[in-house]
């Protein structure tokens, strides 16, 4: 089992190595992140100060701001893997993958995961620097770091499997962008990217708890600012369940799609 995973680990490592060459570009092109963090610092500083509350939705001001740095870094670091899958299906390139000794979904997951890790670290570095200048530095508890690393990795995997699954819809439709748009916007709100889900009114919170998005964004960011190891274990269990579930859904859609595949030419 472990041996069969070697090729995927090698693909992820190679992709990360390739993308390291662009890490400085990611850092220099982070203008939008700087602007949005500047706005968030202003919005929440005023909100805490005017409302007179020390804790809002379970977060104090410092936690809220660092939470938002983390969620933005997770989401902004997302590569456009759904478009790659869509292109492979539209051009027929996916047919070459059928003969190769790997699982197409896992291969795309490995490649996009390697790229995403580099992008995430670059983006988080910029966010950390901006927030350190605007507020003050934050040092999470060192004991939480191994759990945080695993949680972030699982969150990204779940998200990437979701995106690849959306890409598989290209077996039926020409353009998967509308599906991804709905997915990304739901994730933005119900995943807790722009505001923690604990701020929601009950019905929205319930909806968020029923959907997988909170495992992709809210949960790792909450762990980053909360440093609660007991929460980390249950969170990881939930994330593994979501990854397996999304993988099974993705593979079912892929298999259905491949049956319809009709490639012309050589």
């Amino acid at each position: 089992m472990l041996k069969s995973m070697d090729k995927y680990l090698a693909a992820a490592a190679l992709s990360a190595k390739n993308y390291l060459g662009y890490a400085s570009e990611v850092i220099f092109r982070s203008g939008f992140l700087v602007v949005i963090l500047f706005v968030f610092v202003n919005l929440w500083t005023v909100t805490y100060s005017r409302s007179g509350a020390e804790i809002i939705a379970g977060f104090d001001l410092r936690q809220m701001l660092w939470y938002l740095v983390f969620t933005e870094s997770i989401v902004i670091s997302r590569p456009r893997v759904h478009l790659k899958v869509e292109e492979d299906i539209r051009t027929g390139a996916v047919s070459y993958a059928l003969a190769r000794p790997y699982n197409y979904l896992l291969f795309q997951l490995s490649v996009s995961f390697g790229e995403r890790m580099v992008r995430f670290i670059s983006t988080l570095t910029v966010g950390y620097a901006v927030m350190t200048v605007m507020v003050r530095p934050y040092f999470p508890d060192l004991s939480i770091l191994p759990f945080l690393t695993v949680t972030v990795a699982l969150a990204m995997m779940a998200d990437l499997i979701g995106m690849i699954t959306i890409g598989f819809l290209a077996f039926w439709v020409e353009d998967v962008s509308p599906f991804f748009l709905v997915y990304s916007r739901l994730q933005m709100l119900l995943g807790g990217m722009i505001v923690p889900i604990t701020l929601f009114p009950p019905f929205l919170r319930k909806l968020s708890e029923w959907l997988p998005f909170r495992f992709m964004v809210y949960a790792p960011a909450k762990l980053f600012v909360n440093c609660d190891i007991s929460q980390a274990l249950s969170l990881m269990a939930g994330q593994i369940f979501i990854c397996v579930l999304l993988f099974l859904i993705g593979m079912s859609i892929y298999r259905m799609g491949v049956k319809r595949l009709d490639v012309n030419g050589g």
Partner: protein, 263 residues
């Protein structure tokens, strides 16, 4: 035919061509419209949650936030009638400007009207109707329309200046995109969250205050003097944009890429 008549004829000609193009790509146009509306809807849900949780955070309520989103979106759709204003650096760098230079019409005007994203006008109609439902009062509706047009002029002038910098800077496209994104982001937040230097920045370098704060002041507090201030600022930005563009033309040297027809 008078000069104005000739230019009006050119505008109407391009309007006709672009409308035909719109009918050709109905599905992708509607998907783009859906995406834009969905994005706005998600942000409005955020603000609805925010004001539900903090109803007394300021004198602003959800209705004010909705208004700045509506004004901004209608303004952006009006700018889309001159869609090439977003593309000026690319047009300069990719050898597409030469096409307009050899034509007998003003190059800037010709370039601006050559490409229109008319599906956006449908989005404008949706925002306009939403505002009417929210505030069914004739003076407010008229002021909303007026402030949307003025905001469109401000955004257009801002883009024209940034785009025309493409004559002088190779990286104008990247810088322009970052500043434009900053303008749009700042425009969707209430001005009272900004303090210190940021309060000045949103009325000067990144004039988002004219697109968010001013329309709310005019529509809800009847602060009519702000109309003149905004209008003057919008005209100023466009005049500066035209000057930078014409100065840039004198500085411009054609490359070895020459595109015969480009819009």
């Amino acid at each position: 035919m008078s000069t104005v008549g000739k230019y009006l004829g050119l505008f109407l000609g391009y309007l006709y061509i672009n409308a035909k193009g719109l009918l050709e790509y109905k599905v992708s146009s509607l998907i783009a419209l859906f995406g834009s509306l969905l994005n706005s809807a998600i942000w409005l849900v955020f603000w609805w949650v925010f004001f539900k949780r903090f109803p007394n955070i300021s004198e602003w309520q959800f209705v004010h936030l909705f208004t700045i989103w509506a004004v901004l979106n209608v303004a952006l759709t009006l700018v889309s009638v001159f869609y090439n204003v977003y593309k000026i650096p690319a047009i300069i760098n990719e050898g597409k400007l030469e096409y307009y230079l050899v034509r007998p019409k003003n190059a800037l005007f010709h370039l601006l009207v050559a490409r229109m994203q008319l599906i956006d006008l449908l989005e404008a109609a949706i925002w306009f109707i939403s505002f009417i439902i929210l505030k069914p009062e004739l003076p407010a509706i008229l002021l909303f329309l007026l402030m949307s047009v003025i905001s469109a002029a401000i955004i257009h002038g801002f883009l024209l200046i940034l785009g025309s910098l493409g004559f002088f800077l190779k990286s104008a496209d990247g810088i322009g995109t970052e500043l434009y994104n900053a303008l749009i982001t700042f425009s969707t937040y209430p001005n009272w969250i900004f303090r210190g230097a940021a309060k000045w920045i949103i009325f000067t370098v990144i004039p988002a205050g004219f697109i968010s704060y001013v329309p709310v002041q005019v529509i809800y507090n009847r602060a009519y003097l702000w109309i003149l201030g905004s209008l003057g600022f919008g005209i100023l930005l466009n005049v500066i944009g035209c000057v930078v563009f014409s100065r840039g033309l004198k500085y411009f040297e054609t490359g070895n890429t020459f595109v015969l027809r480009a819009d």
